[in-house]
């Protein structure tokens, strides 16, 4: 007589990295932030870092809520200031792996100055930016990445200011790793985040995301799936393109890929080398 053996219920590998008691999350149905978070956690799991030594720092906005859902030391800071908070955290305890996870408005508009300066210093942090083309938490206003002609609540007749090209900005400011994917490219996204996490120095991954409730609704992407299908059909993978060729237009081709992967001394390495030399010179 055979005994029925119940199959153990498989545990989702991402669960141990999430504060499951905080679920359901605040993000809208069809939002791409969950996809980005999922890819990040899978990359983190594969990277094999000691979870106790990984910190997530977020700013304000929809993506800024990521810090509240990860079961890691996590910091939800003031608007735009995730990167300088992360800078202090890293310099105080260099053994920590620090990931800044925030949105385009937080990182590039109000926090834009910190973004370029941390890249220029080659601060040893990974920055993951979910770019959904608008300020979603506050109701869908235009932001630093809104394409020309796109409609938002504060650009009801279409935006007319040129958007930032984030990979180009990161590269020219001094980042050592730059990649961009859409929420459709989950495997590539995970791979790039993994590479970014393993990279020493300022690594940057832009994740282009749908925002069905606010951006999509106003711009003829009627739901999350529609926008993701559009990403699928209109994305072109290019490695190492000319940065100015990767501008994002309104309903135009989106160039994705790994754009940059170089070596440069990090801020901490440069500081420690200099201090060490001075101490030796002075015999201290």
């Amino acid at each position: 007589m055979s005994v029925a053996v119940s199959n153990p219920i498989p545990v989702n590998p991402v669960e141990k990295y999430l504060r499951m008691e905080r679920i359901p999350h605040i993000w809208c149905p069809g939002c791409g932030i969950g996809t980005a978070l999922n890819a990040f956690i899978r990359a983190l799991d594969e990277a094999g870092f000691e979870p106790d030594k990984v910190c997530v720092v977020s700013g304000i906005g929809c993506t800024g809520r990521v810090a509240g859902y990860v079961n890691l030391d996590s910091f939800h800071t003031t608007h735009g200031r995730a990167i300088p908070f992360a800078t202090g955290l890293k310099l105080a305890n260099p053994e920590l792996k620090i990931v800044v996870f925030s949105g385009d408005g937080d990182l590039i508009a109000i926090g834009g100055n910190h973004f370029i300066h941390a890249a220029q210093k080659n601060m040893d942090i990974t920055v993951i930016c979910v770019n959904n083309f608008n300020y979603a938490m506050t109701g869908g206003q235009y932001g630093p990445t809104t394409p020309i002609s796109a409609q938002t609540s504060t650009a009801p007749w279409g935006s007319y200011q040129a958007p930032f090209n984030l990979p180009k900005l990161a590269e020219s400011a001094g980042a050592v790793y730059v990649a961009r994917w859409t929420t459709y490219h989950v495997r590539q996204m995970k791979k790039s985040i993994l590479e970014a996490l393993r990279k020493k120095g300022f690594s940057f991954v832009e994740i282009i995301s749908q925002c069905p409730t606010l951006y999509g609704r106003r711009n003829k992407f009627r739901d999350g799936i529609t926008h993701m299908e559009w990403f699928k059909e209109h994305s072109v993978i290019k490695d190492h393109p000319i940065p100015s060729d990767i501008n994002l237009g309104f309903r135009t081709e989106t160039i994705v890929g790994k754009f940059l992967d170089i070596e440069r001394p990090t801020y901490l390495d440069a500081m420690n080398d200099r201090y060490q030399r001075i101490r030796e010179e002075k015999g201290v």
Binding site: T77, T78, P84
Partner: protein, 385 residues
């Protein structure tokens, strides 16, 4: 807890107030400073940048005061003792992150070497017009602690005190100096390391399963952890419960904000530092703090020559305000003459505590130099008439 003797410059020195702040910070165990150059505070970060490679500290010059003020919070959660240094315009930019440090109960020190304002004002000349900004500058309800040194020696002593208070109450502490105190050179005695008492960070002894990041002790102050210790905490500027989880309700807001305010109010008698010298036969009580009090001590001698006897109250800890001291002094109905380098800030606190029992006079000054003793004497004569 004692500082590392290798970092303490024990001995008698001739130091500027700003240099004394730097040495006080190092003696207090400060090992992280983020700053942005601004007159008249810059010489503090200049000295820090020179000293830190030999004391084990990390100095970083940030892109602005917004980033400096939040990098300090980041460093503290990474386990550092951290400070930032600025003056008026930079202090204005730091307000948001003073609020963040208050909300997240991050022990840290902000130094404001006050200059004349508003706006760019008098970059190279003194003022004391940031006192209310220190108290109320960030939005929302919260409490901070603010100290006002009147000499380079006090710059040294009170910087250590500022770090200690920040650790004891898990609160940002503001050291409110000014251009005069910052740039005057005087004798500063730095004691041996074993005579300096430091308050350790209140790290929890509980295991992660029993620890709540914002569960207060009897003194309303919760214990802390640092990132990387395996506690997997969440720190947020949102209204949060004892676990640190965002809870957007009036009930949670009430419990949190009341505690943030009461942990300082309730402990005010312990935090209080006041220099008080009020002879029984005083005709008037002179009230002053920081650099202005140096003039007031001189004016007291001048008044005596005219037959006017003056007592003095000098709050050293200005926030929380030592209300009890002023209420008690007001009982005998002697007038208060408040001398401050602004158009009237602390005078309102004095007037409030006097509660109609004693008249309150202000000797206003828009800044740029200390008071002319004669201007103070004029008001004293009027007050005792």
């Amino acid at each position: 807890m004692k500082p590392d003797p290798k970092t303490v410059l024990t001995g008698t020195h001739f130091l500027k107030g700003n240099d004394a702040v730097c040495e006080g910070a190092i003696s207090a165990g400060c090992n992280f400073v983020a700053g942005y150059p601004i007159t008249p505070s810059t010489d503090i970060i200049e000295r820090i940048s020179k000293r830190f490679p030999f004391t084990g500290g990390t100095f970083i010059q940030m892109e602005d005061e917004l980033s400096s003020s939040i990098a300090v919070s980041g460093a503290v959660w990474g386990g550092a003792k951290a400070m930032t240094v600025t003056s008026g315009p930079g202090f204005s930019l730091m307000m948001e992150n003073i609020g963040y440090a208050a909300m997240t109960e991050t022990p840290c020190v902000f130094v404001d070497v006050q200059r004349g304002g508003p706006s760019t004002g008098l970059p190279t000349l003194p003022g004391q017009a940031d006192m209310m900004q220190a108290r109320w500058g960030s939005h929302g309800d919260y409490q901070i602690i603010a100290l006002c040194p009147e000499s380079p020696q006090e710059c040294y002593d009170l910087t250590i005190k500022a770090f200690n208070l920040s650790e004891e109450y898990r609160v940002p502490v503001l050291l409110m100096t000014d251009e005069c105190v910052g740039h005057m050179s005087e004798r500063v005695v730095i004691p041996p390391a074993d005579e300096i008492e430091l308050s350790p960070r209140r790290y929890t002894t509980l295991p992660p399963s029993e620890f709540h990041l914002f569960r207060p002790g009897k003194d309303l102050v919760p214990d802390m952890i640092k990132a990387g210790d395996g506690y997997h905490v969440h720190v947020s500027g949102l209204t949060h419960d004892e676990h640190g989880r965002p809870v957007i309700t009036p009930e949670c807001q009430d419990a949190l904000v009341r505690r943030l305010v009461n942990k300082i109010r309730q402990n005010e008698p312990k935090i209080r530092m006041v220099e008080e010298d009020i002879p029984d036969d005083s005709d008037v009580i002179l009230v002053s703090y920081g650099i202005s009090s140096r003039i007031v001590f001189l004016v007291r001698e001048l008044a005596r020559k005219e037959g006017i006897k003056a007592g003095i109250i000098r709050p050293i800890v200005v926030w929380p305000f030592p209300e009890e001291v002023f209420r008690k002094a007001a009982k005998k109905s002697r007038p208060f003459v408040v001398v401050e380098m602004n158009m009237g800030q602390i005078v309102y606190e004095v007037e409030r505590c006097a509660a109609g029992q004693a008249k309150t006079y202000l000797v206003p000054h828009a800044g740029g130099t200390v008071h002319n003793p004669e201007d103070i004497l004029k008001i004293i004569r009027e007050a005792v008439k």
